[in-house]
Point group: C2
Chain length 422, copies 2
C-alpha cells in the first residue's frame, strides 16, 4: 500500500462520513428514519453513480481495501456495541423465546422460497438458494434504528437481538449445507441438515457460556495491571477491543460469523464492571468506522441492475420476504411477550436481510444454479428489506409517543458533557 | 485482505498498545522518561526478538500492512496534534529564529558527516550519505516528551516545533539532491543545491500561508452545515481529519514529507474557532494509532545488527550526531531566546533522527556507496539519538521543578471528566 493511496483512502472515508451525516440530517428534515440517509447516500456515492465519476483520471471515491476494512471494522464494532446492551443471563432468560422466534423466522422464509421456486417450475436447488437467501436476518439496521429510538433496553429489542444472533447461527448452518449440496453435490438429507444445525448451536452456546465466564475475569486482571500506574491508560477498553476482534476471528475459525463472535465478546464485557467505560470508548471509535458500514451497504447496490430487473419477481420475493419474517417471528414473539404490539415490532425488526443472503445468492449464480434475473431480484430484495424496518419501527414507536432521539449518527455523553453541547 | 487476517492484525495492534502502556508504567517506575517504554517495548516485540517467536506456525506479532498502516496514521495524527499547538502568526513570529536554528542544525551535522568521511578516507559521495543521514531531525519523540512534561506551549517548544518543520523541508531537499547525485549521477553544484532548497522553502511557505487562510473558512462553512441539524454530529472534527490527511497527501505530491502537510493542516485548524473540539477528538482517536508509531520505531531496529557492528564507528558518529545538533541548534536558539537553559533545551529537542535519515542511509547501501558497516552504524545512531532527548529534556525540566505529568500515554480531559477518574 502506497502512502499516497492510504491518505487518499482516509480522505475518501472522511468524505463518506460527512455525506452520511448530512444525509442523516436530511432524513430527519423529511421525517424519515435517520438511518435511511446514510444508506441512500451510499447508493448515491456508489461506483455506479457519483462515486464512479472520474475526476483528474481517478474516480471520485475509490472503494479500495482501506475503505472496505474500515467498513468491516464498523460492522464488528456495531455488533460489539449490541452485545454491550445484553447480559448472558438475559440471553438465557429469553432463551426459549429467542430460539423459537429465530427458528420460525428461518423456517417460514425458507419454506416460502422452496414453494415459490417449485411453483415457478424451478429445481429444488434453485429453491434452496432462494430460500437460503431469504432466511438470514441482518440485524445492523434494526439495531441502529432501535438505538435512535433509545429502545435498545426494551424487552422487544432484547428479543430481537437474541433471536437475530441465533438466526445468524442457523443461517450459517443452512449456508454450509447449501454449499455442500451445490458445490460438492452432497445428497440433501433432513437428518444431516438438522444435525449440522444442532451442532453449530451447541458450539455457539459453549462459546458464549465460556466467554461469559472468562472475559469478566480477564478484564478484572487487566484492570489490576492498569492500577499499577497512577496514570489513566484506558487499558480495559483496549483489552476489550482485543477480545472483540479476537473473538470475531475465533468465531470465524470455528465456522460462525465473525459478527457473532463480536456480539459474544460484547455481551461478556457487559457482565463485567467496565461496561460503561468500554461502551463510551467504543462509541467514539465507532465514529470513524460505523458510518462506513452503512455507506458500503448502500454502495454495494447497482441501481441499474435492479431497475432493469424483473419487477414481478422482485415484487413477489419482496412481499414474501417481508411477510414470512413478520409471520415467522412476529407470531411467536407475540405469544412469548404476551403483547401484540411488541410482537409485531419483533417481526419488523427481523425483516432486514444482508450479507449472508447475498453470499448464498452469489453462490447460486457462480455455480450456474440461478439465472441473472433471479440473482438481481434477490439483491434487490435484500436492499428493499433493508429500507423497510426503520420506517415500520419508527411509526410503531411514534404512535406510542416515543420520538426519535435528537442526536446525530454519533453520540457520546462524555464528549457532550465536555464540549458543553446543549 | 482476508477477514481473518484483518481481525488478527487488530488483535496484534491491541496487544502492542497494551505492551506500550505497560512499558510506559515500568518506565515511570524506574524514573525513566515515559516514552522510552514504548520504544523499548517495540524492540522487545520486534520480529528479531519476541515478535518473531512462532506460535502454532505463525509469528507472535505479524507486522503486516494493517499494522504498518495504523502506525503511519499515528505519525500523521501526532504531527497534526503538534500543529494544533501552534498558530500561523506564531510561526511567522519565530520565523527568523526557527529558520536560523533549522539551517544551522542541518549544516553543522552535514559538514561533520563530510569531514568525518574524508578523514576516514572515503569518497565525497559517502560523506553526502553520512552527512545527509545525520542532518534530518525527527520531531516525534521530543514532541511526546514535551507533551508529557506539559511544555508544548513554552517558547522553547514552539521554537523546536517550528525549526523541526523547516528542518524537515531542508532535509527533504537535501535528500532529493543526494538522490540526484547518487542515483542519476548528476554533478554536485552548490548553486543548484541552494536553489533547490530555496524553491522547496518557498513552496512550503506558500502552502502554509494558503492553508492558514483557507482552512478556518472551510471549518466555519462545515460548522454551518452541522448546525442545520439540532443533533450533534462532530462534522468539524471529521472535516479536520479530512484536511489533515488531504494535506498530508498533497504535501507528498508536491515533494514534501506528508508529515509536514499534517502539521500545516493542524496549524491552520488551530487558527479556527474549533481548535479544542478537534484536539480532544484527535486525542481519543490517537489512542489506537499513535502508540503503534512508537512501537514500530522500536521494532524496526535489529539489535543483532547493532551489537555486531563497529562500536568505534557507532560511537564516533553517535557523539557527532548529538553534539552537532546541540551546537547547530542550541547556540542560535540561546541567542534568539536570550536564555541559556532554554537554548540548550532546543538543542536537546532537535537531537532525534528518524525516517529521513534511514531513507538516505538505505539509498546509500542500495546503490553500493556505503558499506554494511557504515549502514549498521547509521541505523544504530538513529536509534541512539531517539533514546537520548527524553532523558535530557526530562532532567532539564526536573531541575526546574517541573515534574512529569501524571498521565498515561493517552489522555483526554473529556473522558477523564466523564469517567470521574481522579
Amino acid at each position: 500500500m502506497e502512502q499516497a493511496q492510504l491518505f487518499r483512502a482516509i480522505v475518501d472515508i472522511c468524505i463518506l462520513i460527512i455525506a452520511a451525516e448530512l444525509a442523516t440530517t436530511l432524513s430527519a428534515r423529511f421525517k424519515l428514519p435517520r438511518i435511511i440517509g446514510p444508506l441512500l447516500a451510499g447508493v448515491l456515492f456508489s461506483p455506479y453513480i457519483l462515486g464512479g465519476l472520474e475526476i483528474l483520471g481517478s474516480p471520485l471515491i475509490e472503494y479500495n481495501d482501506i475503505v472496505l476494512i474500515f467498513g468491516e471494522i464498523g460492522a464488528v464494532l456495531l455488533l460489539f456495541q449490541a452485545g454491550l446492551h445484553m447480559r448472558f443471563f438475559e440471553l438465557i432468560k429469553s432463551g426459549v423465546a429467542a430460539l423459537v422466534v429465530a427458528v420460525m423466522g428461518v423456517v417460514v422464509p425458507f419454506a416460502f422460497g422452496i414453494a415459490t421456486s417449485s411453483l415457478l417450475g424451478y429445481d429444488l436447488t434453485v429453491g434452496l438458494i432462494i430460500g437460503g437467501s431469504l432466511s438470514a436476518t441482518s440485524i445492523a439496521i434494526s439495531l441502529k434504528t432501535l438505538g435512535e429510538l433509545n429502545q435498545l433496553g426494551s424487552p422487544e429489542a432484547k428479543l430481537i437481538i437474541a433471536a437475530a444472533v441465533i438466526d445468524d447461527v442457523l443461517a450459517l448452518s443452512i449456508a454450509s449445507v447449501i454449499i455442500g449440496v451445490v458445490v460438492e453435490s452432497q445428497p440433501i438429507s433432513t437428518f444431516s441438515f438438522i444435525r449440522s444445525i444442532a451442532a453449530t448451536l451447541v458450539v455457539w452456546f459453549a462459546f458464549t457460556a465460556f466467554s461469559a465466564w472468562v472475559i469478566p475475569r480477564f478484564t478484572e486482571y487487566v484492570n489490576t495491571l492498569e492500577r499499577l500506574d497512577e496514570a489513566e491508560q484506558h487499558l480495559v477498553p483496549i483489552a476489550s477491543l482485543l477480545l472483540c476482534f479476537g473473538f470475531a476471528g475465533l468465531s470465524g475459525l470455528i465456522g460462525l460469523s465473525p459478527l457473532v463472535g463480536a456480539f459474544v465478546a460484547g455481551m461478556a464485557v457487559a457482565g463485567s464492571r467496565f461496561e460503561s467505560e468500554v461502551a463510551s470508548f467504543v462509541e467514539l471509535l465507532g465514529v470513524l468506522f460505523i458510518p462506513l458500514f452503512f455507506i458500503l451497504a448502500g454502495a454495494g447496490v447497482n441501481p441499474g441492475a435492479i431497475l432493469s430487473g424483473n419487477f414481478l419477481l422482485i415484487g413477489l420475493l419482496g412481499v414474501g420476504a417481508v411477510f414470512t419474517k413478520l409471520i415467522g417471528c412476529g407470531i411467536p414473539a407475540e405469544f412469548f411477550l404476551k403483547d401484540r404490539v411488541k410482537g409485531i415490532r419483533v417481526g419488523y425488526g427481523m425483516i432486514s436481510r444482508g450479507e449472508i443472503g447475498l453470499v448464498i445468492a452469489s453462490i447460486g449464480i457462480t455455480y450456474g444454479i440461478i439465472s441473472d434475473e433471479i440473482y438481481a431480484a434477490l439483491v434487490a430484495v435484500v436492499f428493499i428489506t433493508t429500507l423497510i424496518p426503520p420506517f415500520l419501527l419508527k411509526s410503531s414507536y411514534d404512535s406510542d409517543g416515543i420520538t426519535v432521539h435528537r442526536r446525530g449518527f454519533f453520540r457520546n455523553r462524555f464528549l457532550d458533557k465536555g464540549l458543553g453541547v446543549e
